[in-house]
């Protein structure tokens, strides 16, 4: 759930990252494969709170931060984690362009000690575009656990660049890294990377192109070889970006083009064609990487990942895989429901007490009744209701979910579910974005960047709001507790509410699949495409960090946002409820207008009005409903959820209303933040509008259906 200030707030645009340059010190780029601990290092050095988690692809935006060491200031630029910088995917382009054209004083390539061989691929690729490289071998503690020993000194000799070993979770181990950064930036150490030697014939052709390029352009030395390689590969998009960034024109240079075509012929004569050029290059890199690893790594235990494999066998087994997944989710919700109940009641009574004091105080200072009512019953009451209903479940749910995330379970969910998603012509990674949606749909929509195919990404974006975000599920929990579990006491009751909430969520997942399938047959036609996903090793979550991070970064942030919306909304609703034409309040007029339609859906006009007023933030739907019912200032003190229940029942709620409200909570238009994020991510109003319309129509139809079925049953 990429839900921190940094991931929601100042997401840098792709273009401006290039210009990140520290005027008063040094600039350092952080590169690496996904999930190697880049963000952990970044946070630790800068003291910021970039989102970390154990699944590949979560660093979808760039972040910058400062750190001081000795007498110097360093600007750290966290670039997206990528396996390579050769492709034209968005992240790789950002990473490549920044390292190549942003001219950082040093580039740290973070590598995973437990899978060095593959990670060296990226190191060698980056060596082609810059010399100032520091290799940071992270996760040494995991390597040790797996009995892998790495000779860092030898690795440094073989690569020709400084190599530092770190354990990012232990801050102390980063001192060495800082020291090396300092020395490289200060030119105390000058890395001289030992680049890959490709096949002699390719090296020969690179030389030819190099000298030709030198005739025409005056560039920094490292770039000639890089451009030559890209010319050999005929990588149009990369060459375009080189041309744009350096303001030169290579493709229209006749002399270079002729040479390129001639070389192409030569190479294809000996069997190196356009289609296997990349294979040849990568093979050379991987061979070298294998050689180096054989020299520097010692594996003392050949079966080093056997524990992970055993766990995986169970968590992805044919019979238990999916039930376990549902069970995990169920347990999380159950703990949330049970745990949130008591603190919620306490908050209700506490705020109720404060409210009474405020009213007496207002009377005491002779405050006009309309003003005190507006501020206390409008603004204050809405605010405190939101806090009482939302804070406890969130404070429990977030840490639990972060725990699963840190453990590395999310990619397994994607793996387990991919078969279903494939049948619906979309990607299993969509499941990960849905999990992020539990935190916040806006974060889920941004997270859709991990899906590399535009069509599948769009499907994931359009359907993300089918999973209830944390602004909605406290509401679900409340309704379930009141209506579905109220007659059952204690333990069984909490189980029943969990099942009810789970049912709604599974319905959301099911609807996601159905709608995806429909989309893939209509406006987003296409066949299922490829799916390649790394399943990272399980990692022991850091309990302390999880608590702090989920409470401060997520819970308080989300709550803060809800409060910002709730205060003005409370005011507006109060005014709507108390100002009217001919003695009828505006709220009543709107609700009465909507009532016939709402009845068809098994709801009433007030509920629908509340959902509409709740567009800025779904959190405020329940407070608005209550405010509507209690509208004209009648003073009720709410002690707990059951008091809420009584109000609802007095206003005609039945089990059908409750079910339909739960369904509609899950399936309706996303909040404004999400809509704006969708606009930003897709760039088109068309998709934004669709993402508004699709879930709403689903919700309406489903509610009408349940109402119909219910009515038939009742009449029989």
């Amino acid at each position: 759930m990429g839900l921190t200030k940094s991931s929601m707030g100042n997401v840098l645009l792709n273009d401006d990252i290039k210009y990140y340059k520290n005027e008063n010190g040094f600039t350092v780029a952080l590169a690496g494969n996904p999930n190697v601990g880049k963000s952990t290092i970044f946070n630790s050095l800068t003291g910021l709170h970039q989102h970390t988690g154990n699944w590949p692809g979560k660093t979808v935006s760039n972040a910058t931060g400062h750190c001081n060491y000795k007498d110097k200031d360093f600007l750290l630029v966290d670039i997206p984690g990528t396996y390579s910088i050769l492709s034209d995917s968005q992240e790789e382009e950002i990473a490549r362009d920044y390292i190549c054209f942003g001219n950082p004083d040093a580039t740290i390539v973070v590598v995973d000690a437990t899978c060095l061989e593959r990670n060296l691929n990226l190191v060698f690729q980056i060596m082609e575009i810059t010399d100032n490289i520091i290799v940071c071998v992270n996760l040494l503690d995991e390597a040790k656990k797996k009995h892998i020993k790495i000779n860092l000194k030898l690795l440094s000799d073989l690569l020709g660049v400084p190599v530092v070993g770190t354990i990012a979770r232990k801050k102390k181990s980063l001192n060495n890294l800082l020291d090396t950064i300092y020395k490289v930036c200060n030119k105390d150490i000058i890395p001289s990377p030992k680049k890959i030697h490709y096949l002699p014939i390719i090296e020969n052709k690179i030389e030819l192109l190099n000298s030709k390029l030198k005739e025409f352009f005056d560039l920094s030395p490292v770039l000639y070889r890089w451009i030559s390689l890209k010319l050999l590969d005929n990588e149009q998009s990369i060459i375009k970006s080189i041309e744009n960034n350096l303001n030169i024109n290579i493709s229209n240079n006749v002399s270079i083009n002729d040479l390129r075509i001639e070389i192409e012929k030569d190479l294809s004569n000996i069997g190196i064609t356009k289609s296997n050029f990349k294979d040849t290059i990568t093979s050379s890199i991987m061979q070298k990487a294998e050689k180096i690893c054989n020299k520097v790594c010692t594996f003392e235990n050949a079966n080093y990942s056997s524990r992970d494999r055993k766990i995986d066998k169970i968590l992805t087994s044919k019979t238990f895989g999916i039930p376990i997944m549902i069970l995990f989710l169920g347990i999380i919700f159950w703990i949330t429901i049970v745990g949130a109940n008591y603190p919620s009641q306490m908050l209700f009574s506490f705020f109720g007490f404060i409210q009474e004091q405020l009213i007496s105080f207002a009377n005491y200072i002779n405050c006009p009744v309309w003003l005190s009512d507006m501020l206390i019953l409008g603004v204050f009451r809405t605010l405190t209701w939101i806090i009482s209903v939302m804070l406890p479940p969130m404070a429990i749910f977030f840490p639990l979910f972060t725990f699963l995330e840190d453990l590395g379970y999310l990619p397994r969910i994607a793996f387990n579910m991919d078969g279903f998603f494939k049948k619906c012509c979309c990607s299993g990674k969509q499941m990960i974005t849905m999990c992020m949606g539990f935190g916040c749909n806006a974060a889920g929509v941004t997270g859709c960047r991990i899906i590399s195919f535009p069509r599948e990404r769009l499907m994931a974006i359009l359907t993300n709001s089918f999973v209830p975000c944390n602004g909605r599920f406290p509401f679900l929990i409340t309704i379930a507790t009141i209506f579905i579990a109220s007659s059952i006491q204690g333990f069984a009751g909490s189980i029943v509410s969990t099942i009810a909430v789970m049912f709604v969520i599974l319905l959301g997942i099911f609807m996601t699949l159905v709608i995806s399938k429909i989309l893939s047959k209509t406006i987003l036609k296409g066949l299922p495409s490829s799916f390649v996903l790394e399943l990272p090793p399980y990692r022991k979550p850091q309990f302390g960090k999880i608590l702090v991070r989920s409470i401060f970064d997520r819970t308080l942030f989300v709550l803060g946002r809800a409060i910002c919306v709730a205060a003005p909304a409370g005011l507006v609703i109060w005014i709507f409820a108390n100002v009217g034409i001919n003695g009828e309040s505006l709220l009543n007029i709107i609700a009465n207008f909507l009532n016939p339609f709402a009845n068809l859906m098994g709801l009433d006009g007030y509920i629908l009005t509340a959902f509409i007023f709740g567009i800025p933030a779904n959190e405020i739907v329940l407070p608005i409903i209550l405010m509507c019912y209690l509208g004209n200032g009648s003073l009720v003190n709410l002690d707990d959820t059951f008091a809420i229940g009584n109000i609802l029942i007095q206003n005609g709620w039945t089990i059908l209303t409750a079910i339909n409200v739960m369904i509609f909570t899950c399936l309706h238009f996303p909040c404004t933040t999400t809509l704006l994020t969708i606009k930003k991510e897709t760039g088109k109003w068309k998709w934004t509008i669709l993402s508004f319309v699709i879930p709403t129509i689903c919700g309406i139809i489903l509610c009408m259906f349940t109402t119909l079925v219910y009515n038939i049953f009742v009449t029989i």
Partner: protein
């Protein structure tokens, strides 16, 4: 030595093979290359998805999930 060429999706769980040829589309192939999947790379089938249609393979120390559509275009040889 008795080598046999099969497609990757036919590799049974817990068995090992070596990459022989990747015939996937340009895009997918590139992604596989990025993960270090080149000719002669050792690859071992580890997990099968309960919902079917994809498997996870151990490649160079990491676990990578690949759909059958793609793995049926990858030829491997077994010893």
């Amino acid at each position: 030595m008795n080598t046999k060429i099969i497609t990757l999706n036919k590799l049974p769980v817990n068995k090992t093979g070596f990459i022989y040829n990747i015939k996937c589309s340009e895009n997918v192939k590139r992604r596989l290359l990025d993960l270090g999947i080149v000719k002669n790379t050792c690859i071992k089938a580890i997990l099968k998805s309960p919902s079917g249609g994809l498997k996870a393979f151990e490649i160079r120390g990491s676990l990578i999930a690949i759909r059958d559509e793609d793995s049926s275009l990858i030829q491997i040889y077994t010893k």
